[in-house]
């Protein structure tokens, strides 16, 4: 009898016990929840730093902008070392390509971090918020501009976060819609940012105007481009560095010619498994001379090797040739003790040339492992580029006089005589000048496509196909088939 009662007691205990839902409510210790953030100016500032972070994925554009063009080959340890780059080099790239997938992933991660701020922009008010929002919209424009240059019209997500179930309902927007959004973001940034920022590395009015000018140029809106680029030239406090050589050293970064840089640091190591997690510039680290032992330079992975075609496109008098392209054997032969200097060639290819702008130098070694800790900034837009874009815009817009003024400023620094042509001949010369001035900086492929010259210059380039890169097939699958592949792939 007694036992019976006891059993009932136990059973009652068990049943009451299991309803104790509260026991399972565990809060994450000392962690910030994403849903209850943006309560102070500081919160916005920190989220903005998170949005800037993805700029560091630009190392891929320095690579792909060169190797997809006629400027460089992929190089590296073997033809399967970062195979996606070799495929792009050979114009055999298709729907399976890790590097192209990274472009899509990194830039959408950037867009998402900007949208996270924009979605919550009204939560807390404080003075100067419009500057934070201006930077946010500048960054979003930058990320979408990367996406539209690589892939054309992409899905457009603005000022909100999306859930995984929503992915299949968002198809690709048109190129025009993406550009409209980029222009709108940049116009806001232009209106709200100042010409200078108290903190080095942040976007300014000049950066927003210059990027807007470039965006116009990519849409052949020459009048608009000329207008905004003239503002950079006339209102901004920019000038060309006297010596072209000085531009490429880390010590001289953020100079009078800098319009917008992606900032990198030598102070934090990382892992080859996550190049986007680095604070160093993987492009500069990897572009170094393979197993090099000798003065001035330091060893790297022989990525992105310039072609002799590029080298030979320079006039021998052009100061920029040897400052842009390192002919390794010539360099070694003029050193004090050439016999003591050695380097190796990689199975991924060898041209005899190295990129002399983004390269590992002994004076610029970051912390070990220095492949991953290069402090060299990626120069997104520098003043010479602004002048050349403005020259092109004025030329295409019929104002050759202004165009010649601008382009000759750039040529003069390189010890080159003034141009005097007009019309389409001048257009051709400005285009050629762009590659002489900007070779190795990741612009070439996009300029060739923009100007319709790609098929002439790039082996294997198919018109109607290779203007855009393929969307990764897996991303199309993940969209539930709501994205169509780019033509030809």
């Amino acid at each position: 009898m007694k036992a019976h009662k006891f059993t009932i007691l136990i059973a009652a205990f068990l049943i009451s016990f299991s309803s104790c839902e509260k026991y399972l409510e565990v809060d994450p210790a000392f962690s910030l929840g994403a849903d209850n953030y943006f309560n102070s100016e500081q919160d916005y500032e920190l989220a903005l730093i998170g949005a800037y972070d993805l700029l560091q994925g630009s190392y891929l554009t320095q690579w792909i902008g060169e190797i997809a063009s006629d400027n460089s080959i992929a190089g590296g340890e073997s033809v399967t070392d970062t195979e996606g780059l070799h495929q792009i080099d050979n114009m055999t790239h298709d729907g399976v390509n890790n590097e192209l997938r990274s472009i899509l992933r990194f830039n959408y991660a950037g867009v998402t971090r900007c949208n996270y701020i924009m979605e919550n922009k009204d939560k807390t008010d404080f003075d100067g918020k419009e500057i934070i929002l201006g930077e946010t919209r500048f960054l979003r424009a930058y990320y979408y501009f990367e996406l539209v240059r690589y892939f054309g019209g992409v899905p457009l997500v603005i000022d909100r976060s999306i859930g995984s179930e929503e992915v299949t309902t968002i198809g690709r927007a048109s190129k025009a819609e993406i550009y409209a959004q980029i222009e709108s973001d940049l116009e806001y940034a232009v209106a709200n940012l100042n010409w200078s920022q108290p903190v080095k590395g942040r976007a300014t009015k000049g950066a927003a105007l210059a990027l807007l000018g470039k965006v116009y140029l990519f849409q052949n809106k020459f009048a608009d481009a000329a207008t905004v680029l003239d503002r950079v030239i006339n209102e901004g406090n920019y000038s060309l560095m006297p010596n072209y050589e000085d531009l490429w050293l880390a010590a001289n970064e953020n100079n009078s010619e800098t319009v917008f840089d992606v900032e990198y640091s030598a102070l934090e190591g990382g892992s080859y498994d996550c190049l986007i997690c680095l604070e160093g510039n993987a492009a500069a680290g990897f572009n170094g001379i393979r197993q090099y032992e000798g003065p001035f330079y330091a060893d790297g992975n022989s990525y992105i090797l310039p072609t002799s075609k590029l080298y030979n496109s320079f006039s021998v008098n052009d100061l920029r040739r040897d400052l842009s392209i390192l002919h390794i054997d010539s360099f070694i032969s003029i050193q004090a003790d050439p016999g003591s200097i050695s380097y190796a060639t990689g199975g991924g290819g060898h041209t005899g040339y190295y990129n002399n702008k983004y390269i590992k130098r002994q004076a610029e070694l970051g912390l070990p492992d220095d492949d991953l800790t290069s402090p060299l900034n990626y120069k997104v837009i520098r003043y010479a580029d602004v002048l050349l874009m403005a020259a092109e815009a004025h030329n295409r817009n019929g104002n050759d006089g202004q165009a010649l003024t601008y382009v000759n400023l750039v040529r003069a620094r390189a010890n080159m005589s003034d141009l005097s042509a007009t019309g389409t001949l001048l257009t051709e010369q400005i285009w050629a000048e762009r590659n002489l001035e900007l070779a190795g900086e990741g612009h070439r492929f996009f300029d060739l496509v923009r100007t319709g010259k790609a098929a002439d210059e790039i082996d294997g380039f198919q018109t109607g196909k290779h203007e855009l890169f393929p969307l990764p097939q897996v991303e199309i699958d993940l969209s539930g088939g709501s994205w169509t592949q780019n033509p030809g792939y």
Partner: protein
């Protein structure tokens, strides 16, 4: 062992009736002992058959009884087989009794209760602790390999203290496939098994099928229940001291090129690459044998002492042990050392109230080297070239300057200081209250506390120019400079990282067991209970720079000399997770012939959001002992002693994902460089999935058990195990924005996996009373693993990459086993340019001597930019695994062995760095050198080639058969030991991994998954299991 019925036996009175009989009555005397170990047995019933005359043996196992010639003496003792002996002339009858353990009354632990082999309805298996102890292996998981059908165990690392992957009935999920491991009811994780000394184990029970569902949300991968040794009531203290000492060496070295072969091959490769040949003279002798330099013989030793016994109210088992093992790579730099102390005691407070307590203290120290990856010691060893000496002329280690990222492995070992120390307290207090004959209430309070200390010292090192692993800037070991403010530079010298972490598991379990037999034929058992589980942890860690003298002697945070502490940094973490469960089990057995059991468990887990927190896991099972049926008698199958059919079906769960996967947290990485300094912002980390829930496994099992010809047993199981709603992180669309730094895709429930297979076990046990005793058992497991569903919109989940920066070689894809290999199929070698030109399939870049790939999609082109010509090249999952154990004894000698075979799996050879100067396996000697030279091995070249894309050329048959242990022992005769008051003494010599039969070229084909499920079977220069020769002893007082 004595405990079985010892008390009841004691109660029996001596019957010393003696009839004044007319027949010749003789007094028979003798001693009764255990057949297995010679230990005497007190309290044995000795009776004369057909009479009520009887006696019992005394405390020393001696007895004396009067009987007539021709009468039969019956010796009986609970838990042992009855023995009948006819009285003849002999006046002394020493009797050895054998345990009944191998047969039907063997206790099987099933979770919150126990059952017997005869009654159990589920697919469970039991391994005796003695079987594991015999293997002299430090970890119980490694020792279990080949012991139980359906349980596949692979070594994740052969380094001392390295873990194994335990897979019960295949791979059922993408994430955590480890079974739930309970030691005396206390949850252990597989890493934590280092704390357990196999000598302390009484038994290991494995619940393989749906009946494991009594453990609910954590049971989907099966349950391993380990019981440690307990004492016995009324037993003399027995002291046992055992130990062994051995030497380990590598079972194998790879066949790498020697210096002359290397020079010839490399000249050829450079020539083919259109480059100058590096060796003017190729007669450079043997050169450096890096493997000889890196591998060493290393000691292994272990000593155990235990005392077991009890009085009328107390049982105890206490013990201590020391274990120390150095590595065959790295010696003391790759070491595992364990001290352990154990105190198990039970008190009978009164007849109804008993308290069991278990306390285990362990101190483990482990040193580790970089293993199984690019940059591991063995990876560097394999790729180091033989023309380089070990040291330069100045005595410094050589630099291996011709290869990128490959460093001198000796220098690497010397500069590695990585040691962790774990203090672990595991125990329980378990009051058991016997309410009445039918009801027993058990309350169990478990704790498992681990205090983990780790220290890693990173000295300033210089491995040579341009080596990624350098921490100094030059050979003088100058420290790098760090700019902490404009033009303010600090040295960044040697650093030390230390962590102090505490993990605490607390569990309360209360359950009521009911057990009653109605009308002698209806046996009813019931269990109802609750379980409350709380796991918490916190840790503090810090890195400090500028350790004085670049020396391990000063490697402590307290010694740092970082200017102003500027570079030093600290971190911490804290977490908590909880489980709340109720469970119910009902069992019914009719005439011990028809058994039925039903289980239901309700679990709540803090891993999930409030909407999906609770799960219900039911299971049903039944068994039929058909050999007890009347019709069976009529079948004239007398040779079959016992036959049982079992069927079970159950659902269990898996919640093994990180905490808070259902919440969006700002734990991503938002770091950018502003004003030239690294600035920390915030970013969302892992994408959140508020609808996350546990994955479920449904398992059906049908099995049959036979005992026949008295000494044989046989078990067969067929199972189908379907896991649904797999918890994992598949790729998600880029537009969700989760692929920034520190970002991860959300966990989702997506994908299904099916495992099906058969298990066979057959055993033979000869009569232990004979001079010759022979026992053997074999088990065979077949397994078919298949992915049934992947998340919507995904064709496959990519896994491990091949080579450096190479393509994905393993996948999780519908219709294929988890982690199968995909790449190009080869079809010989192109012998000439004409052959390439005339080939129906165009292969870009092909040259004579290159591998010819197969055009799988028939489009006439080998497509290197997409997957259309890739095909399955193998799978890491074996088709069949076989375990075979035997032991033979004759008088004092015993010989035992353990063989394990794993057949039908493949391994990816991924330890060859494709660099111009890296050393290579000597198959390249047979490389293609001209038309007709070979159709197997491609040419070598330093130029661009597709020969190193992932193809079947890099996939090898990983099947192997291994003699894991063989042991020869001798037990000294009792009479020799008596004067020394020694109860028994056995000495033995033993060898582990003495022989492996395999075609695999790498170090060790027994490779687990070092880097997750999809990295299984990828060999980066695996740390092999050692070959060990040992001598040992076991002495009892």
């Amino acid at each position: 062992m004595y405990s079985k019925g010892w008390r009841s036996v004691l109660g029996i009175l001596l019957c010393l009736f003696s009839f004044a009989a007319s027949a010749q009555k003789v007094t028979i005397k003798g001693q009764i002992s255990e057949a297995a170990n010679g230990v005497t047995i007190p309290g044995v019933n000795i009776s004369i058959k057909g009479t009520s005359i009887g006696t019992t043996s005394d405390l020393d196992g001696n007895y004396s009884i009067e009987a007539q010639k021709g009468q039969t003496l019956v010796f009986s003792f609970v838990g042992f087989k009855n023995i009948e002996i006819q009285v003849n002339e002999s006046r002394t009858l020493n009797v050895k009794m054998a345990e009944e353990s191998s047969v039907l009354n063997e206790i099987v632990v099933v979770g919150y209760g126990s059952s017997t082999k005869k009654e159990i309805t589920g697919a469970a298996a039991k391994v005796d602790g003695a079987e594991l102890k015999k293997l002299n292996i430090s970890r119980v998981d490694a020792a279990l390999q080949g012991q139980v059908s359906g349980v596949t165990i692979n070594t994740n690392s052969g380094s001392p203290g390295g873990s194994s992957s335990i897979r019960i009935r295949g791979l059922s999920t993408f994430g955590d496939n480890d079974p739930l491991i309970l030691v005396d009811g206390i949850v252990y994780d597989t890493e934590g098994l280092n704390a357990l000394n196999p000598n302390d184990i009484e038994s290991v029970n494995v619940l393989k099928d749906g009946t494991a569902g009594i453990y609910g949300v954590r049971a989907a991968n099966g349950v391993i229940i380990i019981e440690t040794k307990k004492g016995s009531l009324n037993a003399k203290p027995q002291i046992e001291f055992s130990g062994f000492y051995g030497m380990q060496s590598t079972a194998r070295q790879l066949n790498l090129l020697n210096a002359t072969e290397y020079a010839v091959v490399k000249n050829n490769a450079f020539f083919n690459g259109g480059q100058a040949q590096p060796f003017a003279n190729t007669s450079v002798g043997e050169g450096t044998d890096w493997q000889d330099a890196v591998f060493q013989t290393a000691p292994i030793e272990s000593y155990n002492i235990s005392i077991n016994g009890g009085n009328a109210k107390t049982r105890y088992s206490v013990g201590g042990s020391y274990y120390n093992q150095d590595g065959i790579v790295g010696g003391a730099k790759s070491n595992f050392r364990r001290y352990n102390a154990r105190f198990n005691v039970s008190f009978d407070i009164d007849e109804r109230f008993k308290v069991n307590s278990v306390l285990l203290y362990t101190n483990e120290g482990r040193s580790t080297l970089a293993e199984n990856g690019i940059g591991s010691v063995l990876y560097n060893t394999i790729n180091a070239y033989p023309t380089e000496p070990l040291r330069q002329d100045n005595g410094e280690y050589s630099y291996l300057e011709l290869v990128n990222d490959i460093i001198n492995p000796l220098a690497q070992m010397e500069n590695t200081y990585n040691r962790s120390n774990v203090n672990k307290f595991v125990g329980k207090i378990e009051p058991v209250f016997k309410i009445n004959e039918d009801f027993t209430l058990t309350n169990r309070f478990n704790y498992n506390i681990a205090l983990v200390d780790g220290k890693t010292f990173s000295p300033l090192t210089w491995y040579g120019p341009g080596k990624a692993q350098n921490t100094a800037v030059n050979a003088d070991l100058d420290a790098p400079q760090v700019e902490i403010a404009d033009s303010v530079f600090l040295d960044r010298g040697a650093s030390v990282y230390e962590n102090r972490d505490t993990y605490v598991d607390l569990t309360y379990e209360g359950f009521l067991n009911y057990n009653h037999t109605f009308n002698k034929i209806h046996k009813v058992k019931g269990t109802i209970g609750v379980s409350v589980f709380n796991r918490s942890g916190n840790g503090l860690n810090a890195t400090a720079f500028n350790i004085p003298n670049n020396s391990i002697d000063f490697a402590d945070i307290s010694a740092n000399q970082a200017d102003g502490g500027f570079l030093n940094n600290a971190g911490s973490f804290e977490f908590e997770e909880r489980l709340l469960s109720t469970f119910l089990r009902a069992e019914y057995s009719l005439r011990n012939r028809y058994m039925f059991s039903a289980i239901v468990r309700r679990d709540g887990s803090s891993k999930f959001g409030a909407n999906n927190r609770w799960g219900i896991f039911p299971a049903v099972s039944g068994a039929w002992v058909f050999s007890d049926e009347v019709f069976w008698e009529g079948l004239n199958l007398d040779w079959v002693d016992f036959g049982k059919l079992r069927v079970s079906y159950g659902i269990s769960g898996n919640d093994q994902i990180p905490n808070f996967a259902y919440l969006p947290l700002l734990n991503g990485e938002g770091v950018y460089v502003l004003n030239d300094f690294i600035s920390n912002g915030v970013a969302i980390g892992r994408g959140a999935n508020p609808d996350l829930k546990w994955e479920t496994t449904q398992q059906f099992n049908i099995g049959i058990d036979f005992n026949f010809l008295k000494d044989f047993n046989f078990t067969f199981n067929y199972f189908v195990k379907n896991t649904n709603d797999l918890l994992f992180q598949p790729d998600v669309s880029a537009i969700l924005g989760t692929y920034g730094p520190g970002g991860f895709p959300p966990y989702v429930n997506a994908g299904d996996v099916s495992n099906r297979g058969m298990e066979f076990e057959i055993g033979y046990h000869s009569n232990p009373l004979n001079d010759w005793v022979f026992n053997a058992n074999a088990n065979i497991t077949t397994l078919t693993n298949e992915v049934v569903r992947v998340p919507d919109g995904v064709d496959f989940i990519p896994g491990a990459g091949f080579g450096v920066g190479g393509v994905v070689a393993t996948r999780f894809q519908v219709g294929q086993p988890i982690g199968y290999y995909i790449g190009y199929e080869t079809d010989g070698i192109f012998q000439s340019q004409a052959e390439i030109d005339n080939a129906p399939v165009s292969q870009a870049g092909a040259q004579p001597g290159d591998l010819r790939f197969v055009d799988q999609n028939g489009d006439g082109v080998i497509n290197f930019s997409d997957d259309t010509d890739k095909v399955k090249l193998g799978s890491p999952i074996p088709d069949v695994t076989i375990g075979f154990n035997f032991n033979v004894s004759y008088k004092g000698f015993d010989l035992s062995g353990n063989i394990y075979a794993s057949l039908g799996q493949e391994i990816i050879r991924n330890y060859e760095r494709q660099q111009p100067y890296a050393n290579q396996l000597n198959y390249v000697i047979n490389r293609w050198t001209g038309q007709g030279s070979t159709d197997i091995y491609p040419r070598v070249t330093t130029g661009a080639t597709r020969n190193n894309v992932f193809s079947d050329f890099y996939v090898e048959d990983g099947s192997f058969l291994r003699l894991r242990n063989i042991q020869l022992g001798y037990t000294f005769p009792k009479k020799w030991l008596k004067t020394a008051k020694v109860e028994s003494l056995r000495v033995y010599i033993s060898a582990n991994n003495l022989y492996t039969l395999t075609n695999y070229l790498g170090y060790d084909p027994d490779i687990g998954n070092f880097g997750g499920v999809l990295a299984a079977g990828v060999d980066y220069g695996f740390y092999p299991q050692a070959q060990t020769i040992m001598g040992g002893f076991n002495i009892k007082f």
